[in-house]
Amino acid sequence: MSNRWIGFLLALALGAALGLYYGWVLNPVEFVDTAPASLRQDYKADFVLLVAEAYQYEGSLELAARRLALLGSADPVQLATDGLVFATRTGYADADLAAIRALQLDLQAWLPAASPGTP
């Protein structure tokens, strides 16, 4: 009787291993509608640069902050800083670094308008 149980458990383990292999390797779940928050770090940094360049053109900090918020739940200043750190580390051109830095500084100085009812 114990041999049957051992055999059963071994078969169970083998089946589980095959199932995991199928579900993780052969036919994994595909995420095709991702959000900017899941972008690879270098694409995120380029996204921050995009926002900085758009800010140069439009001049709206509120828009820039909303766009940066797509990268995650962190503070827009932190998101800009993260982008600046990566851009500096990977050798972005001076003009690009200046654009991101300008956005970062303006965001630091920017205070969103208080909504009614807030102290």
Partner: protein, 308 residues
């Protein structure tokens, strides 16, 4: 006592294990994609990304970089995607600035693809603005270089064909005018750029061209704004007794961003309106030409619309 139940317990275990493994891999702990490329973004996020690319181009004018960023999005036809997005957002007044930026980028890309200039494909130089560094490959994943030449493959959209009756069943019509053989397209006069967004397009020129190489009967339109720039994404509404169809400029950028064409069906009388509130043109119909040898063939209407 002999056990004659056979190895079914093994198969049962295997099956249950398989099921448990797949469920765990798909539901409990699925593969997480944390380092995704822009091509995997949801459609609305791609739209926002595209808008940012267009705004960045408006700020810096770096067409190579804009093209490289568009390639990141993985659109089969980045130019068509730009035009389509501008078209979708054109109805929203709050998006006017974004639409303008998208159209300007589409225009620049279309012009570059129509006549590529080596000057726009520079090799990396020191200090050149670039989102992808030329050093530290270990830190930099293999992104497309922004200096990649503009090699986006455009797949021109098929010419709009009327869903109406078959061309072969149409009777032969005698032309109501005597067109000049091989009439040329008259260049537009230069105009002082006074962009007036939203002004309806008016018919500036109407030509009937007899050229068998043009494969008539065909209606060709060219649409320009007040700054004499071709305008992509303009909707043209063509109607006939019992039907109507819409077609758009810019879907054949190799022929001009403001270009659109429509295959006419002989025997039908059309009414054409270009752009919202644009001037209507009535009694448009396919007409025949005659070669010096007496052969008859269909001619082509060429219309030019301007925005005052």
């Amino acid at each position: 006592m002999n056990d004659r139940r056979g190895p079914w317990y093994l198969l049962t275990g295997l099956f249950l294990g398989l099921l448990a493994g797949v469920l765990y891999a798909w539901l409990v702990a699925p593969v997480e994609y944390t380092d995704t490329p822009p091509a995997s973004l949801r459609a609305d996020f791609k739209d926002q990304y595209r808008t940012l690319i267009a705004l960045a181009y408006a700020a810096g004018g770096d067409l190579n970089r804009a093209n490289a960023r568009l390639i990141y999005l993985g659109d089969p036809d980045p130019l068509a995607a730009l035009v389509a997005q501008a078209d979708r957002q054109a109805a929203d007044p709050a998006s006017a600035a974004d639409v303008e930026a998208l159209r300007r980028l589409a225009q620049a890309l279309g012009a570059e693809l129509a006549s590529p200039t080596p000057a726009l494909s520079p090799s990396p130089t020191a200090g050149q603005a670039s989102p992808t560094p030329t050093a530290s490959p270990s830190l930099t994943p293999p992104l497309p270089s922004p200096t990649t030449p503009l090699t986006t493959t455009l797949t021109p959209a098929a010419s709009s064909s009327p869903p109406g009756p078959s061309r072969t069943s149409a009777p032969t019509r005698t032309p109501t005018l005597t067109p000049t053989p091989f009439a040329t397209f008259t260049p537009l006069p230069s105009r002082t750029p006074t962009a007036t967004p939203g002004a309806p397009f008016v018919l500036d020129e109407r030509l009937f061209v007899c050229d068998p190489a043009l494969n008539g009967p065909l209606l060709q339109i060219q649409v320009y704004d007040a700054a004499n720039q071709p305008v992509p994404g303009v909707e043209a509404l063509i109607a006939w007794d019992g039907g109507q169809e819409r077609f758009y400029t810019g879907l054949k950028p190799e022929l001009g961003l403001g270009y659109a064409d429509y295959a006419l069906t002989p025997g039908l009388i059309y009414r054409l309106q270009v752009g919202a509130g644009g001037q209507s043109l009535n009694d448009l119909a396919a007409a025949e030409c005659e070669s010096p040898g007496g052969q008859r063939y269909w001619g082509v209407w060429q219309l030019t619309y301007l925005q005052p």
